[in-house]
Amino acid sequence: MAIEKDVHHWMLRKMLLSRRFEEAIKAAYMEGKSPRFNMADGPIPGEMHLSNGQEPCAVGVCAHLTDHDVVTATHRPHHIAIAKGVDLKGMAAEIFGKTTGLSGGRGGHMHLFDQAVNFSCSGIIGEGMGPAVGAALGRRLAGDEGIAVSFIGEGAANQGAFHESLNLAAVWNVGVVFVIEDNAWGISVSKRSSTAVASNAERAVAYGMPGVRVEGNDPEAIYSAAGEAVERARSGGGPSLLELSTVRLEGHFMGDAEQYRPREEMDGLSQNDPIPRYSESLAERGLLSAEDQENMEREAQDAVDEAMAYARESALPEVHEAYQCVFA
């Protein structure tokens, strides 16, 4: 599938936005936590799972989606939220626990909800899969072309919800795409030591749906594979499973010393960044000028600066707000 230049630019722009955003979050997260790292301290407490390295998965899939399509994501959600078009200011404010955040500070980084673009995420492994199946059915029963995409990590493919959801989606023949971001690690446990098959795409066979594994952490290859799966979902052809090989450039969460990760793998990480690889490849093919790139970099940085300033300047919620929204 030949990819239009503006699609390339959209994907690169979103990848840059995600990366600049996470760099800013990473720096803010460490504020107040040094010299002695304490997760409870600083403007952003709690766990922080960065998605640096995994941006191609988010953009290659979300490039095919509209706001109306439903996406469920995981504990590692920022890149997907950004590619789905979640409001960056509201998202930053939520991560800072501010009253202007997407959920008024009630959810935080693992619970980002933006109903306007049909995005949500959740911290329990495999938990978004059932809801994606249901949302896809909901769209079909409403008679529209909307579909659903469920992002998970490769570790989630060993969770019961994975197998139940694939079967249910197949039995109902709903328009859902299951996307596994395979970064080879579930915290300290390698995929190899925890998963009975080398490629989770093989598991699709058991549920009578197409399963495709995409190597290379390459936005173009992901875009192509996702395009077929999304088209199948939209046209009533039913569910598909994609496993996308990707890389976790950071620890599982911030503060993870990663002593379990082989030295050679750690040393190779800086060579394994998909963003420069993609922009260089576009430039070589004459699809990206130096000026384009500069503009994209500046736009990304400006948007991130604006979102971070908004988050920092916003007020923290008042205690009585904790009691709101428990019920509708």
Partner: protein
């Protein structure tokens, strides 16, 4: 205080994380039926440090990292226990019980009964509880009441490293399923802060702390403050503050929720006539209500004031520190509740 004499043995000051690892290692050395498994417990030694060093000493056959498949591996623990092993299994955060509760409450907790006693299930389910560090509503709950409600499992909650080791050794040796709920704020992992009172001398040798035995941590005569896990430390600090006002608070550490040491609880309330329960689990339908009912049943005529409870309000645990922290039971609330109790004679 302990079932076995521990005097005269060497000891070290340990965090709860270290003392749990020591307890498991000691039992694994003494009994080759003891195995341990869970997510990230082998090479990483447990996200909360409770399995540090076990892989090196005992090898991958007895110290198993599992896939993220809680229903399967907790179910497997039930199967292992029913054929003679002594599995210790970890559910990384108690909040994850939703994906695997069936194996816990319909199998581990009921097989002994269903089998007419033929098939006891000697297993330990270790699980981390509690928040206060901004991990939001799927990683910060306590859920003590949820587990204690279900018949057939013992439930213990240590408040310091000494009890953590003694309770864990007792749990491993117990012929029943025991849910060992360790509070993250007490664990002594630097990155989660460290509650000072949890790091205490722990004998090197194995010893047990009886399941179902509360401890009077501080004797007093005016009001009984009842806590466990993190709230024990809130109770102790409140007792210090109350002492400055001339109020003598007795502080009880429940240590076990199931079985519940009613004798110690009732004895204390019969003496003081007043009780404040502190629980960082949700307020309604939980441990705090159960303790008050126990006291109303067993010591009603001694009561001089309606028993009070301080617990987490009935809302999911919010992320924002400005919402989360004020909702956690704190010393001021306990002091105020005790003061109010003192006004009634």
């Amino acid at each position: 205080m302990t079932a076995q004499a521990t005097q005269g043995t060497a000891s070290q000051r340990l965090t709860i994380a270290r003392s749990m690892a020591t307890a498991i290692a000691g039992e694994m050395r003494a009994d080759e039926r003891v195995v341990v498994m869970g997510e990230d417990i082998a090479a990483l030694g447990g996200v909360f440090g409770n399995c540090q060093g076990l892989l090196d000493e005992f090898g991958a056959e007895r110290v198993r990292d599992t896939p993220i498949s809680e229903t399967a591996f907790i179910g497997a623990a039930v199967g292992m226990a029913s054929v003679g092993l002594r599995p210790i299994v970890e559910l990384m955060f108690v909040d994850f019980f939703g994906v695997c509760m069936d194996a816990i409450y319909n199998l581990a907790a009921k097989n002994c009964y269903f089998s007419g006693g033929q098939t006891p299930i000697p297993m330990v389910l270790m699980t981390s509880v509690g928040g206060g560090y901004g991990d939001a509503g799927q990683h910060s709950q306590c859920l003590y009441g949820t587990f204690a409600h279900l018949p057939g499992m013992k439930v213990v909650v240590p408040s310091d490293a000494y009890d953590a080791k003694g309770l864990l050794v007792a749990a491993i040796r117990d012929p029943n399923p025991v849910v060992f709920m360790y509070h993250k704020a007490l664990q002594g992992m630097g990155w989660l802060g460290t509650e000072k009172g949890t790091v205490v001398d722990v004998p090197d040798d194995s010893y047990t702390v009886d399941l179902g035995k509360a401890a009077i941590k501080r004797p007093g005569s005016d009001v009984s403050l009842v806590g466990f896990g993190r709230t024990l430390h809130v109770a102790l600090a409140a007792a210090d503050a109350l002492a400055m006002e001339g109020v003598s608070a007795e502080v009880i550490d429940l240590r076990s929720l199931v079985p519940l040491d009613k004798e110690t609880l009732l004895g204390s309330v019969q003496k003081t006539g007043r009780m404040v329960v502190i629980d960082d689990d949700y307020l309604s339908f939980g441990v705090s209500g159960e303790l008050i009912a126990t006291v109303c049943d067993g010591a009603f005529s001694s009561l001089r004031a309606a028993p009070a409870r301080i617990a987490h309000p009935d809302v999911p645990i919010p992320f924002s520190p400005s919402l989360e922290r004020p909702l956690l039971p704190n010393v001021e609330q306990v002091v105020a509740a005790a003061r109010q109790q003192m006004e009634t004679r």
